[in-house]
């Protein structure tokens, strides 16, 4: 497979100053008193993307990922290094393509087409597809300044995918528009992947990355810190984020995460700790999620009824002894709203150590849910969240079936009272 995008030792430096002089007048008045500082947005980044590959760039805000994408698109020029690409390139930087607010959607499509090297008749050939995909039939002759941000993004996306690009650059736009349109975009991206097109996406939506990328690079303060399979890159990304959180001196974590050493007041059970020396961490040991199994009360049906109990079994495999460990689960609804998120630490049900294979089970005595499929995110991390050993996002779920006619998600316990005087 041929390299379609080659990024070779790219650095980008911006000259920054606190109060930038924006006019010749200011420059003259404040001559010599302006303190310029250099800001390295990108620091010696090299990687390449092969034909047909989908690469995601992950990074926190200000990590340089958008700057790099702009350099690949050609709107910014790197200070050092070179970027080479082959074939037609369509870019969706920030919010959609470059549209002129005073022109109508139709005029902008033609203008964009000619920017991407299309002749008028070629644009006419794809015009209907663009309008169809963007779902803008009634609005295509409206000035785009009257468009909503969703319409704007839709039209931008529709143009970019219909101009037959060899390379598609996408910056966060998949998060725009309604859910149905997002799904349509993902479907279209999949089709483009099958057609052997090269795609470079910038995102911090890790689930999107997991869903569509073949590979991911992680940028942190302008440096590339990972170039790996999506799962692994996402872990590096999260660790970098956590490390940044630690760097920032917020209020020092005062919660004591050390395992309890006194008897549980309710059960009177003594924590299973033999002695402080007994649990010794194996250096470099890590733990991975083996499985996540929702255990329903009725083994024959793969769902529960509202109010029934549920057990979520998380199987793990540890390569050695790890004492700094906690398990986390999050339950979402179908729209992605988090219904509940908790960890063994938050619940004060500490996991003292993991080693070899084992299973941690979250036991819900009653699930007050009505109907639907509820996606889960499961993670194993250190007490402070700084190290994420493993994580499964939205890969597992459980289902609830409501035989009654009450609508909604939550089954609030309710009774009816009626006072009357006939």
């Amino acid at each position: 497979m041929a390299e379609v995008i080659t990024i070779d030792r790219v650095s980008k430096t911006f000259k920054m100053t606190k109060d930038k002089p924006k006019s010749a007048k200011e420059r003259v008045i404040r001559a010599g008193r302006i303190k310029w500082e250099e800001f390295r947005a990108l620091d010696d980044v090299s990687f390449s993307v092969e034909q047909g590959e989908t690469l995601a760039m992950l990074g926190h805000n200000g990590s340089g990922k958008s700057t790099l994408l702009k350099c690949v698109a050609g709107t910014l020029r790197p200070t050092k290094g070179s970027i080479t690409h082959r074939g037609r390139l369509a870019a969706l930087l920030e919010l959609g393509a470059g549209f002129h607010p005073d022109l109508t959607g139709r005029e902008n499509v033609f203008l964009n087409g000619s920017i991407l090297g299309f002749s008028k008749s070629q644009v006419e050939g794809i015009f209907d597809d663009i309008v169809d995909f963007a779902e803008l039939d009634e609005f295509i002759d409206l000035q785009v300044k009257h468009y909503s941000s969703g319409m704007y993004a839709r039209l931008g996306f529709a143009v970019a995918i219909n101009v037959d690009p060899d390379i598609l650059l996408v910056d966060e736009v998949l998060s725009v528009g309604d859910e149905a349109f997002q799904r349509k975009c993902i479907d279209r991206i999949r089709r483009m992947q099958r057609e052997g097109r090269t795609i470079l996406v910038v995102s911090h939506a890790t689930d999107t990355v997991r869903q569509i990328a073949d590979r991911a690079v992680v940028l942190d303060h302008g440096k590339m810190i990972a170039d790996a399979a999506p799962g692994e890159a996402i872990r590096t990304f999260r660790e970098a984020l956590a490390a940044r959180g630690v760097e920032v001196p917020l209020h020092a974590e005062e919660t004591d995460h050390s395992p309890p050493t006194i008897a549980d007041p309710v059960t009177g059970e003594m924590p299973i700790i033999i002695g402080p020396g007994a649990l010794v961490d194996d250096p470099g040991a890590t733990v991975a999620i083996r499985h996540v199994i929702p255990e329903y009360p009725d083994e024959d049906v793969h769902h529960l009824l509202p109010g029934q109990p549920l057990k979520l079994r998380i199987g793990y495999t540890a390569t050695g002894m790890i004492t700094d460990v906690a398990f986390a689960i999050e339950i979402f609804d179908e729209d992605g709203t988090r219904l509940m998120g908790t960890t063994t630490d938050v619940l004060e049900q500490y996991i003292h150590a993991v080693k070899g294979e084992g299973e941690v089970t979250f036991v819900f005595d009653s699930m007050p849910l009505l109907d639907g499929t509820f996606p889960l995110t499961v993670a194993i991390h250190s007490h402070d969240g700084g190290t994420i050993y493993d994580e499964r996002e939205f890969e597992d779920s459980f289902a609830v079936m409501n035989p009654g006619r009450t609508r909604g998600i939550v089954n609030f316990p309710v009774k009816v009272e009626h006072l009357f005087h006939f």
């Binding site: 379609v4 790219v10 911006f14 924006k22 006019s23 010749a24 007048k25 420059r27 034909q51 047909g52 702009k70 350099c71 690949v72 698109a73 050609g74 709107t75 910014l76 020029r77 200070t79 290094g81 070179s82 970027i83 080479t84 690409h85 082959r86 074939g87 037609r88 390139l89 870019a91 930087l93 920030e94 393509a97 470059g98 002129h100 607010p101 005073d102 022109l103 005029e107 203008l111 964009n112 000619s114 920017i115 991407l116 002749s119 008028k120 060899d166 999949r190 992947q193 099958r194 057609e195 052997g196 097109r197 997991r210 869903q211 569509i212 073949d214 999506p230 996606p375 939205f394 890969e395």
Partner: protein, 327 residues
């Protein structure tokens, strides 16, 4: 949940891929010109866009373009003919032939300077040879030029005057030189304006001074006489003057008289002759110069303008690096 490897399971098509472009490389001025040529269709579209946007929100539309020279004509005729008593026969035609050039020059520069900042949406989002934006402003100014020429043609018709056939050849040449000069300055100013936003305002002031130094409202003869024969070349330091003079020569097509103390090789081939100096005479607008005089001056201005154009493209290339971020 669909699996991440979904698409890998299906057969991928082999796509042919295009030639490699090193997008991060700064093209040299010549390469930049070739890029502009390659994107000429976009240039056409941007000119149309420019005109559309300009007239979309105004009821009178293109009428405004015609109104401007007409209004100027009325005011300047009044002031110069009646109040200041500058005696120029067919002042309307004289004034319009110079104003045509000047209006093109000033609208091209004004619109060109704001062209990058005004199209921030495009500049931030897509790559294309950005100098197309100031060039599109020049293109739009050319359309205005054509419209304003209608006013002049009308004036020629009203006064029953014919342009000079003898000098006509110099007119397209002057126009090309004018376009090169305006392009060069517009390209440089558009890039500078991204970093120094008051360039537009400074330009307005500069253009105001430049207008009065460009022999549009008063005859060039007065300048030449003031400078004297040995220093007349100094007037051509203003590169717009030879262009304006050519337009005046061809379109205004003045009749000469050999009186006045400055005749500079008039029809009789006479040199400077102090006895000919008759002050307070009516001043005819023209000084006689042969065609070669116009062509040689235009050539010099043309060469200088081309040099400025290359320099402007070089500067533009350097300033382009951070344009999308600064805008």
């Amino acid at each position: 949940m669909t699996t991440a490897t979904h698409h890998e399971l299906e057969t991928t098509f082999e796509r042919e891929i295009g030639p490699a472009t090193e997008i991060s490389k700064r093209p040299n001025p010549v390469k930049r010109l070739l890029n502009v040529w390659a994107y000429r269709e976009l240039l056409g579209n941007l000119v149309r866009k420019e005109l559309k946007v300009k007239y979309k929100n105004s009821v009178l539309g293109f009428v405004w373009t015609l109104l401007n020279p007409t209004l100027y004509l009325v005011v300047f005729s009044l002031v110069f003919q009646e109040v200041l008593q500058v005696k120029v026969p067919y002042y309307a035609i004289f004034f319009l032939s110079g104003l045509l050039v000047w209006n093109f020059f000033s609208t091209a520069l004004g619109a060109g300077t704001g062209s990058i900042t005004g199209n921030a949406q495009l500049v931030q989002k897509v790559w294309f040879p950005r100098e197309i934006l100031p060039l599109a402003a020049i293109g739009a100014a050319m359309v205005h030029f054509a419209l304003q020429a209608l006013v002049l043609i009308a004036a020629l018709g009203i006064f029953q005057r014919a342009p000079s056939a003898e000098y006509a050849i110099a007119l397209p040449f002057a126009f090309i030189v004018l376009i090169i000069l305006a392009s060069a300055l517009a390209i440089a100013l558009s890039a500078i304006n991204v970093y120094l936003r008051d360039t537009e305002h400074l330009l307005e002031l500069a253009l105001l001074a430049w207008f009065w130094l460009s022999a549009v409202v008063y005859p060039y003869r007065q300048v030449a006489e003031r400078l004297g024969p040995g220093r007349e070349w100094m007037a051509s330091l203003n590169p717009v003057i030879p262009i304006i003079l050519t337009f005046q020569r061809v379109l205004y097509n003045p009749e000469y008289s050999s009186f006045g103390w400055y005749t500079n090789g008039g029809r009789e081939g006479s040199r400077f002759d102090a006895t000919n100096a008759i002050p307070n005479q009516d001043i005819p607008a023209g000084i006689y110069h042969p065609l070669s005089w116009y062509l040689s001056r235009l050539s010099i201005v043309g060469l200088v303008a081309f040099g400025i154009l290359l320099g402007a493209l070089w500067l533009f290339g350097r300033l382009e690096d951070d344009m999308a971020e600064e805008i």
